[in-house]
Amino acid sequence: MTAFGVVAPIVVIAALGLLFARKAVHAALSLAVVMIGLAVLYAANGAPFLFAVQIIVYTGAIMMLFLFVVMLVGVESGPEAVTEPLPGQRVAAALVGLGFGAMLVVGVGQVVANGFAVPVAAVEDDNVEGLAALMFGPYVLAFQFTAALLVTAVLGAMVLAHQERLTPQLSQAEHAAQRIRDFGTDGKHPGNAPTPGVYARHNAVDAPALLPDGTPLESSVPGALVRRGQVIRPPVTGPGLGGEPSSDVAPRTDDETDGEDRS
């Protein structure tokens, strides 16, 4: 059982990673490692079909769904709740869990120590055929029930995750018409925001464009940069100075310091 010797420690470490990971994605990754490790163990123990199914279903579909939800929900929940709603719950829970594990070890250990009535059989060659014969033979009812369960689960998930639209979705043409209407009533500029730095001596997004009269156009800089205070003010230079653009530009502060002392 060389496979076991290699895989088992990896699996246990990854499982512990699930317990201690701070980020949900790291937890999901370590669980994926556990699942792949288990798949290898299945393959080593005469279950090649389960090996494939384990990876396709668990690693490929279920864990991928987990990752998908983690990213969709954006759960970088950060540190988990600091305040304990039930004092001492974690310690108690850990103790209970470990006690449970110990109980299992004792219970199953007894069974193993007493030995099995059935002798160890050789690994079957016709794993897939054997499983199929079982699945569509004695276990056909269970198989059908799981199929029904899957269909029900899909419907349930759709109902749960579905959100009714409250307002009709605007088409592209309607959006365009709405923009023009806004322009007519409120004077809101219908086109794209002007690009930053077009007439300026800079070509970075944090430099506002200069209007033909030389004044900077604040609305040309992305709003996020304005809020972070990362807009630079190009030095005021006369048109005849020419040459290389000067590089010492001051980050604009909120109190609107004038650029003149910098030129």
């Binding site: 090996f51 490929g60 991928m64 897939v128």
Partner: protein, 407 residues
């Protein structure tokens, strides 16, 4: 399945694994060159033609250049996952090739050892390929997440949804092959196609597979995870240097992998094309089958390139709707038909010819449905004004009007 699988001496296994690695890397370099040349020809260009004969060394030069570039780890990245992701994308791409049969049993030169031209085989080989490719998606998803960039995250999310969706259609198209071959082992599937390649009796499955393999490998026109017009580069936006090269390598190997799988499942694997084996006895013996195999794979690579040269990128909702509302229902219906036909054939109610012709009939029916489809009436467009004014704005003359004026 040959009894040799799993019982070969270690050096034979190591040799075969090494050869597969070498073939894949060289084939990737060749494919990148081929794609650039062929797409260039389709666009009236020449493509890379400077380095080496016909520019063959271009991709090698590009690879060296890529490796020597500065390796950037973004500040907002999750370091461990960020480094892990490209590795996770690449390794499964190689792993899938361990069950692809390149040829029959051959004698290794200078020795007496006889070995099949396939690293290994297992009763669930095709499922194994599916499983391994589904691990490869992790690389893309994690790259998207760990980059700490919106574009990359959206690319990664798109990709996971896309690959999961199209894997369903892909798996369903395999089912009919399993029903015909009665096995999931690749070497036995190839052996079952001695008389008739499966693309003919299973034409609908073949078409579904070819479409879903393009979706599965994120290639044009389904290259939405890296739609450079919308998402800059998608999941690999923040990657550079060797890490980016690994993604690139993985994408091209995946392309070859799905092509090789299509060859194995539908085009008779390493068997010589129709006619050659009848004329020439030795076509299916020795090392010649490797040639047929690589040739058939190249055919699919060309299809990939041709698609890229012809079709524009689809919109994401159209793409998902196509996968879920057309490919999967069609596959399911077709599987049902195949099950019924096989059952009838096993009971002896119908002839084998009928079963083998079913695919062609089904394909003809599908084409007829498409041909006779009626377009939804589009809402009336206002009459396009011609001439020099349209709602008060000047418009250019239409081409035929300028000709009128010239006369």
């Amino acid at each position: 399945m040959s009894p040799l699988f799993g019982n070969e001496p270690l050096w034979v296994v190591a040799l075969k694994a090494f050869l597969i690695f070498v073939i894949l890397v060289v084939y990737t370099l060749f494919n990148i060159w081929l794609e650039r040349r062929v797409v260039a020809r389709m666009q009236h260009r020449v493509g890379p033609n400077v380095h080496g004969p016909f520019g063959l060394l271009q991709s090698l030069a590009d690879g060296v250049k890529l490796a020597l570039k500065e390796d950037i780890v973004v500040k907002a990245a999750d370091k461990v996952v960020y480094v892990l992701a490209p590795i996770l994308a690449t390794i499964p791409a190689f792993l899938a090739w361990s069950v692809i049969p390149f040829g029959p049993e051959v004698r290794i030169p200078f020795t007496d050892t006889v070995t099949p031209l396939q690293l290994t085989d297992m009763p669930v080989a095709v499922l194994y390929v599916l499983a391994v490719t589904s691990i490869g998606v992790y690389g893309i998803v994690l790259a998207g997440w760990s980059s700490g960039s919106t574009y990359a995250l959206l690319g990664g999310l798109r990709s996971s949804a896309q690959v999961i969706s199209y894997e369903v259609a892909m798996g369903l198209s395999f089912v009919t092959v399993f029903l015909y071959a009665g096995t999931m082992s690749t070497s036995e599937i190839v052996a079952a196609q001695t008389d008739l390649w499966y693309f003919l009796p299973l034409l609908p499955s073949f078409v579904v597979y070819v479409i879903s393999m393009v979706g599965e490998t994120n290639r044009a026109p389904f290259d939405l995870p890296e739609a450079e017009g919308e998402l800059v580069g998608g999941f690999h936006t923040e990657y550079s240097s060797l890490k980016f090269a690994l993604f690139f390598l993985a994408e091209y190997i995946n392309m070859v992998t799905v092509s090789a799988l299509a060859t194995t499942l539908f085009l008779g694997g390493w068997r010589a094309p129709f006619g050659i084996a009848q004329v020439w006895e030795g076509a299916n013996e020795g090392y010649w089958p490797v040639l047929w195999f690589l040739g058939k794979t190249l055919f699919f690579i060309f299809i990939f390139i041709w698609l890229r040269g012809t079709l524009p990128r689809m919109r994401y909702d159209q793409f998902m709707a196509f996968g879920w509302k057309i490919l999967i229902p069609v596959s399911l219906g077709w599987i049902f038909v195949v099950i019924v036909l096989r059952k009838l054939q096993n009971e002896g109610s119908i002839d084998e010819v009928v079963v083998n012709g079913a695919g062609v009939v089904a394909a003809v029916l599908l084409v007829a449905v498409i041909a006779l489809r009626r377009e939804k009436p589009t809402p009336e467009r206002p009459e396009q004004a011609t001439g020099s004014a349209h709602e008060g704005f000047p418009v250019p003359l239409r081409y035929d009007e300028t000709k009128e004026d010239a006369r």
